[in-house]
């Protein structure tokens, strides 16, 4: 089986952890060995957060290193740029069109880089940029941004759709499930548009 390395990057509080758990759950119900790596603690206070999901016949190290990611799912543009070096040459970057200013930018000590998506696209032509927040709002909740992005990513992977839906049903609290299933569909069908 092919190895698949997925990185999910964003800002503390954006729901990246749930996204990686959903992928992990799909993976263990397939024949893959899987490892996820998360960093907790300090990173949750609005800092840069990263989780890695690795799938293969047998996974040893849980972390993805530079040039190894097949997919980077970026919840925020600056974070996409920060982790670009981790993308493999044939990899794909999926970027949510959202900008959250770090404190250094807010206080005027640094500038938020302009044209991030264009810059990344120059290096990686497989880059996709989507307004997942608007798509989530159309499904009834701004909190489903992560599920929209998972839907888009799922459309590039070979797992049966019903496995994704089963993982959502297992991990999303019941009262948010309907909106999240809708959000997943919206993301999953994004490529067809």
């Amino acid at each position: 089986m092919n190895e698949i390395n997925i990185m999910i990057v964003g800002v503390g509080g954006q729901g990246t952890l749930l996204a990686s758990r959903i992928i992990g759950n799909v993976a263990i119900n397939s024949d893959y060995d899987v490892k996820l790596s998360e960093i907790h603690g300090m990173a949750q206070r609005g800092g840069s957060v990263i989780t890695s999901v690795k799938l293969a016949d047998k996974v040893y190290s849980p972390i993805i290193e530079e040039g190894e990611a097949d997919i980077i799912l970026a919840f925020e543009e600056l974070e996409a740029l920060r982790w670009l070096d981790y993308l493999s040459a044939e990899g794909r970057m999926i970027i949510n069109k959202q900008q959250i200013l770090p404190s250094s930018v807010q206080t005027g000590q640094a500038l938020y880089p302009e044209g991030i998506v264009e810059k990344i696209r120059e290096i990686n032509e497989n880059t996709i940029s989507v307004d997942a927040l608007s798509m989530a709002r159309e499904c009834g909740t701004s909190r489903a941004v992560n599920t929209v992005l998972i839907g888009i990513m799922a459309s590039f992977l070979d797992f049966p759709k019903k496995m994704w839906l089963a993982a959502l049903e297992k991990l999303v609290p019941a009262r948010y499930l309907a909106a999240n299933l809708k959000a997943f569909e919206k993301g999953y069908n994004y490529r067809l548009q």
Binding site: V34, M42, I63, L84
Partner: protein, 582 residues
């Protein structure tokens, strides 16, 4: 049945399956989820948050002596706090099995140092196991109880951040029914006075010798033969990196890192041409292997700082460069963690900065007060240290210096190890001002209850420490309670207390912004026609307030309507929207 679990969750599962009935811990990243998971998932186990790691250790020692299987989990620096009972419970041994889990943090993702806990195992003469993934976390805990009871010893299980916080699959098994061992009074074993301890020390040396024999044959230590040109000795997460970097070579994977199987190591070394020792942090294995007269390559090429990964091993040990040029992202502004919008600490630090005080800090979310844009902390060493350090500074530099110095400490940290510092300050006639940043929770580790919150780990109501009465009881006559969002009052109180010639305790009380009881609603906006662009609101360094150059904007997706910024605005230009109380 297999399940995807954090290393920490698998440790909890292992304790459950082994029939553990008592768990006591103090939270600390990356170990916290072990005890949280026990409290949430396994109701057959009594669990508690202790005030600190030393007390937690003593509780599980008591449980073990009483005949139960028990477990405590802590971060590496927590083991420093618990070291006193650790070294002597090694002498007494146990009755029911005792496992002590210690989670190291190479790379210091959320710690103040990166000490290597394996040295504790050697120093305290205890066996130490080191799992490399979640399945091993569960299996090794169960094995640890067998070792503990067979050899009458506490057993250390060492984790690292990447084992604690990685998920991999775990096969679940049933819980064994564990019967309490009979408790018998035995002062020769359980009362450590010189006469008894001298005899016990001899037994402990015999125990370590037996454990060494055990290590030679134990399946905890595994040899995987591949190409014999290269041999790698490794353990824990470093083994996983080595597997990726070296591929099909020969491995001696040590699941037990103390004591070492010397014969197994020598036999392995004899079979391979070049021998590498791959370990994070200290040359703990390497120095012992070299002492056997075996030639190895290790820390002469690998760093003793930070985490390893397979790229570092390829580069430093195999001389391979990165295969592809990095794509180069160019300059990317950093994104360090910051205090949340609505955080009560922001208000306190704003005042401390304004007053240009020397601020002695401590460990918690409030340590973020040291970083820009807040930048109002001078010193931070360890849990509970702020009060003692402020007192020492006063004794070194005199009363005038103390008049411009405060110690800040969180509610949970104060209970952990600040109380004794405060007693010292009062008893030894100090005049320092101490501020307890009371946000009603243990914040940084992700909201654990503590003795000041009035709730147990299970959320059951319990007795609540009364900080005012505690201060009075130890002899403090000046105690003030203030809401830090009342910036003017807070400033007045701090000035007043710094000026008086006796110790003062200020309790700055406001719940963590992430707690329901913070009760924030709506969000703030700036009315542009009233705003004079004086930038006073920016001085509080809230992540939701953005200087757009021509105007200032509040990001409504980040703002929680705490309205601290409105306190700062001289023109009443900041108003609340939503939340139903405009």
């Amino acid at each position: 049945m297999k399940e995807l679990m954090l290393g920490n969750e698998a440790i909890a599962r292992g304790a459950y399956e082994a029939g553990v009935t008592v768990v006591s811990s103090y939270p600390g990243t990356p170990s916290t989820e072990i005890t949280e998971c026990v409290a949430r998932n396994y109701q057959d186990i009594y669990s508690e948050w202790a005030p600190n790691e030393k007390v937690a250790m003593e509780v599980v020692i008591g449980a073990a002596m009483a005949g139960a299987r028990s477990l405590t989990a802590m971060k590496h620096v927590g083991l420093n706090v618990a070291a006193d009972p650790l070294f002597t419970v090694s002498y007494t041994g146990i009755n029911g099995g005792l496992v002590i889990v210690v989670a190291d943090d190479p790379g210091m993702h959320s710690s103040q140092n990166e000490q290597d806990s394996r040295h504790y195992a050697r120093a305290a003469k205890l066996p130490m196991l080191e799992p490399a993934d979640s399945q091993e976390c569960k299996d090794f805990v169960k094995t640890a109880y067998e070792i503990s009871e067979k050899y009458d010893t506490p057993v250390l299980v060492r984790l690292s951040t990447r084992v604690s916080h990685s998920l991999s699959t775990v096969d679940l098994e049933e819980r064994v029914a564990y019967e309490l061992k009979e408790y018998k009074k035995d002062i020769g074993k359980y009362v450590m006075m010189p006469g008894m301890a001298r005899k016990r020390h001899l037994i402990i040396e015999e125990r370590m010798a037996s454990l060494k024999t055990f290590a030679e044959k134990s399946p905890l230590n595994q040899v995987y033969w591949g190409d014999r040109k290269i041999g790698v000795i490794s353990s824990g997460i470093a083994y996983q990196y080595a597997r990726e970097a070296f591929g099909n070579v020969s491995y001696l994977k040590l699941g037990m890192v103390n004591p070492l199987p010397e014969k197994l190591i020598a036999d392995f070394a004899a079979e391979v041409d070049t021998l590498y020792v791959v370990e994070e942090l200290e040359p703990f294995l390497e120095e012992q292997i070299k002492a056997l007269g075996i030639k190895v390559i290790g820390k002469d090429r690998l760093p003793v700082t930070g985490e390893l990964n397979s790229s570092i091993l390829r580069e430093k040990l195999l001389g391979e460069g990165g295969e592809a040029e990095p794509l180069s992202a160019g300059e990317v502004p950093g994104r360090p963690p910051v205090m949340c919008p609505g955080c009560p600490h922001r208000a306190t630090f704003h005042v401390l900065k304004k007053l240009k005080l020397t601020v002695v800090g401590d460990i918690g979310c409030y340590t973020l007060g040291a970083l820009p844009p807040v930048g109002a902390m001078d010193i931070c060493v360890c849990m509970g240290a702020s009060i003692g350090i402020a007192h020492g500074m006063e004794k070194a530099r005199g009363r005038d210096f103390a008049g411009k110095t405060v110690a800040v400490i969180g509610d949970s940290t104060f209970i952990h190890s600040g109380i004794t510092g405060l007693i010292d300050l009062v008893y030894n006639k100090g005049t320092s001002t101490v501020i307890i940043l009371d946000n009603s929770i243990t914040g940084m580790t992700g909201h654990q209850e503590n003795p000041t919150t009035g709730y147990t780990i299970k959320g059951e109501p319990t007795k609540q420490v009364n900080l005012v009465k505690l201060g009075e009881a130890i002899g403090i006559e000046r105690i003030k309670i203030v809401d830090p969002f009342n910036l003017r009052e807070l400033e007045e109180i701090i000035k007043e207390e710094l000026a008086v010639d006796e110790p003062s305790l200020i309790i700055a009380q406001r719940p963590c912004a992430l707690l329901k009881k913070a009760n924030y609603t709506g969000y703030a906006i700036i009315e542009n026609e009233l705003c004079k662009h004086c930038k006073q609101c920016l001085t509080i360094a809230c992540p939701a307030i953005v200087d757009k150059g021509d105007y200032i904007e509040i990001d409504d997706s980040l703002c929680n309507g705490c309205m601290l910024c409105a306190e700062k605005c001289p023109f009443d230009a900041i108003v609340k929207v939503g939340g139903g109380d405009e």
